[in-house]
Subunit: 427 residues, 2 copies
């Protein structure tokens, strides 16, 4: 943003002077951890680390009994601290993780293989070095757990707490630059037979996670990714190979990918039939649901943040859609009465987090901040009431049951109180 | 890339079958380091790490006496392993570092301040929290040491060794998504007086590094950055604040930024007058040189890589220019006799690394691989002979003296030998 000359001083004029504010804001916290010991400096020269003053971390159910699933107590989720995010890349160290009870397998990349077989003319086996010789693409894509923003997933009750952060409400989505070989290229090499209509992808983890989805998606934009944000895919994200299935529920993005089977029907594999169907209110499931809907969340200011003084704040957040690129984000600061278009920050690309921002002057009164996105297919992020209607119910149902269902992508409200505190206002 | 139907099997047909290759390539190296101990798993849940099988690291002069500067033995450089890079982002842990003998200062961000003063209407002091309330941009920008690709900098003689890697020849450049406040916005807040024509920027490091450059650049695209690749700027890169001066020599990108002084002339500060002028052959220096020229390097295959078999290889590399966006990259595989346009991978943005690639079938004979980029100002990366002419000399001069001067951006040749080994062919 390049403020015009006529806007000069508008940041200072609005509310408290920034320079004045600066003086009072210091001298609170001391060092949060020790400096690196001298003997560690060599290691840091090889591969650097962040400042010990930075304490933004993932959180989740593994050390938090109240967030455990009753019927799967070893499962754990680690969510991304979106309230601290800047730009549109999630650092690999902070990428969300959902695990059904296992730590990542320890795979030697030199020994790892990818098998493509089933309804193909010629089954193929690829080593990592083979794959790296082939044409590749590097694309920004978000991956989001279908349970993100719900109470049913590993976020649990924290999602509806007034004290929830953006990490608690929306932290099971992350965005990386993924580098790899288009799956379509590998399938063409193998020669897909006419009878094939679905693929079954399998991981090399302890649970042998398998997931099936239509061949058309595999031939469209799925990637066999070996790179994430400029380095090898992290172990938690599937090192050395992850299937990236842009815009579709996280469970399709098979980690530690070792096998792709060309088949002619969905496979009803364990996870896709047990934990990951999207339940309807009548108890039946919408099983053939893949695409994540348009969603956005204001990350600053957001739950548990504190506005120190009245005055200027650039409101910012993230928007994304499994349907395509974000075309528009509107922001309301008056509980939904009026909406203004936010600025979209480059890059604005298909099925990726898109950073948005809009200027705001806080007058010290109560305010409710909300964002609403629209994707390039014209899909608009719904209100809570609109989404409830889609489920054949109303907002009270969610309130009474304290349940927020899978696929939840309604507008997220944050309430700013007179004391500057910011709270989750979902209910 | 979406290979057309007619291209089916072209990767398999060209040279060795990939699937056959896979079987023989395994079972060489064992684990490179230990798995994480159980007690470390909690830490990894908070903030993840890469696989212990990944051993791509920075290298440099600190543990390598032959790369030390004779007149500044404590100075050290850490260069980015470009030969392992994918996409266009440099992981923050692998971003290059040039230091004149100091480790990064350990700055408490709550106590850090930025002062803007000198020829302004109203001097201002900003805390980090003040800055984060302001309008921001997130942009991909490369930062490159003006000594990159030379023998004079901290890369030293390794740059011209036949065994040099892309890290040895070009590793003092890196690319990040930087997030911060446009410096122009802060300067407008302070009110720049008509008499001001230059700025002096100062860091909070032990050497109090200072650098001056024209006000016009400060008002154009310079950033006061607090974010790097989605998290706070790393300590080695200036935590908590770095001045990012897109496309200009690295030394202008002042780390640990604490002061900006509006002045009316260049300041002849220590580093800008001693170590960082660009020497001419007559011993005089071209001091008012800021912008990095158009440059590219093939990263795969590159020095010290080994092609295991004849056949298909996607040649890939990086191109960048301080003058703007990359418009074109051409690649030659026959020692410069013929050139073909490479594909540019999105995003292709101003003053950022741009990933390029082009298919190649290696027939098992000797080959020399080169890349040549053109930016959107029409500036073309020069041959060695063209660059020598610019210096008023010829290629033999470089060879005889084993010297490669500052600002060197000539085309980089890699020689592929019949045994598949790849060597630096600069001389």
């Amino acid at each position: 943003m390049n403020p015009k000359q006529s806007d000069r001083r508008r940041f200072l004029k609005s509310g408290a002077a920034l320079a004045g504010l600066a003086v009072g804001a210091s001298a609170s916290a001391g060092p949060l951890a020790a400096e690196p010991a001298p003997e560690r400096i060599d290691d840091l020269h090889l591969y650097g680390e962040r400042s010990h003053f930075v304490n933004s971390v993932r959180n989740g159910s593994i050390n938090n009994p109240e967030r455990r699933l009753k019927d799967e107590p070893n499962a754990f989720g680690l969510s991304t601290p979106l309230q601290d995010s800047v730009g549109m890349i999630t650092p690999a160290s902070l990428h969300f993780v959902v695990s059904h009870g296992y730590e990542p397998p320890d795979i030697n990349p030199l020994e790892h293989r990818l098998l493509i077989h089933g309804m193909v003319d010629c089954p193929l086996i690829f080593s990592l070095d083979d794959l790296k010789r082939l044409p590749f693409v590097s694309r920004f894509y978000f991956i989001e757990c279908h349970g993100n923003s719900t109470t049913g997933g590993l976020g649990g009750a924290a999602r509806i707490s007034p004290n929830a952060t953006a990490q608690d409400t929306h932290g099971f989505t992350s965005c990386s630059q993924w580098t790899g070989v288009p799956l379509s290229l590998l399938l063409k090499e193998a020669g897909v037979q006419k009878s094939a209509s679905w693929i079954l992808a399998e991981g090399a983890d302890a649970s042998k996670h398998t997931k099936s989805f239509p061949l058309a998606k595999a031939m469209d934009d799925a990637l066999v990714a070996y790179g994430q944000n400029g380095e090898p895919v992290r172990p938690e994200q599937g090192f050395p190979l992850r299937l990236v299935v842009p815009g579709w529920e996280g469970i399709n993005n098979v980690k530690w990918l070792r096998r792709i089977d060309l088949v002619d029907e969905p496979y009803m594999a364990m996870m896709e039939t047990t934990r990951y169907p999207s339940l309807r209110l009548d108890g039946k499931s919408r099983w053939f649901k893949f695409e994540m809907g348009p969603k956005s969340v204001i990350t600053q200011p957001s739950g548990a943040h504190h506005l120190p003084v009245r005055g200027f704040y650039e409101i910012t957040g993230l928007a994304w859609s499994g349907g395509g690129a974000i075309r528009r984000v509107e922001v309301s600061t008056d509980d939904g009465r009026t909406w203004k278009d936010a600025q979209l920050h480059d890059p604005v690309t298909q099925k990726a987090h898109t950073r948005f921002s809009i200027p705001w002057n806080w007058n010290g009164e109560e305010a409710v901040l909300q964002s609403r996105c629209t994707d390039d297919q014209g899909m608009v992020q719904p209100t809570m009431a609109e989404l409830a209607k889609l489920y054949g119910t109303d907002v009270d149902y969610f309130r009474k049951t304290s349940q927020i269902l899978a696929g939840f992508n309604a507008i997220q409200p944050w309430k700013v109180n007179r004391d500057g505190s910011v709270q989750n206002a979902i209910f």
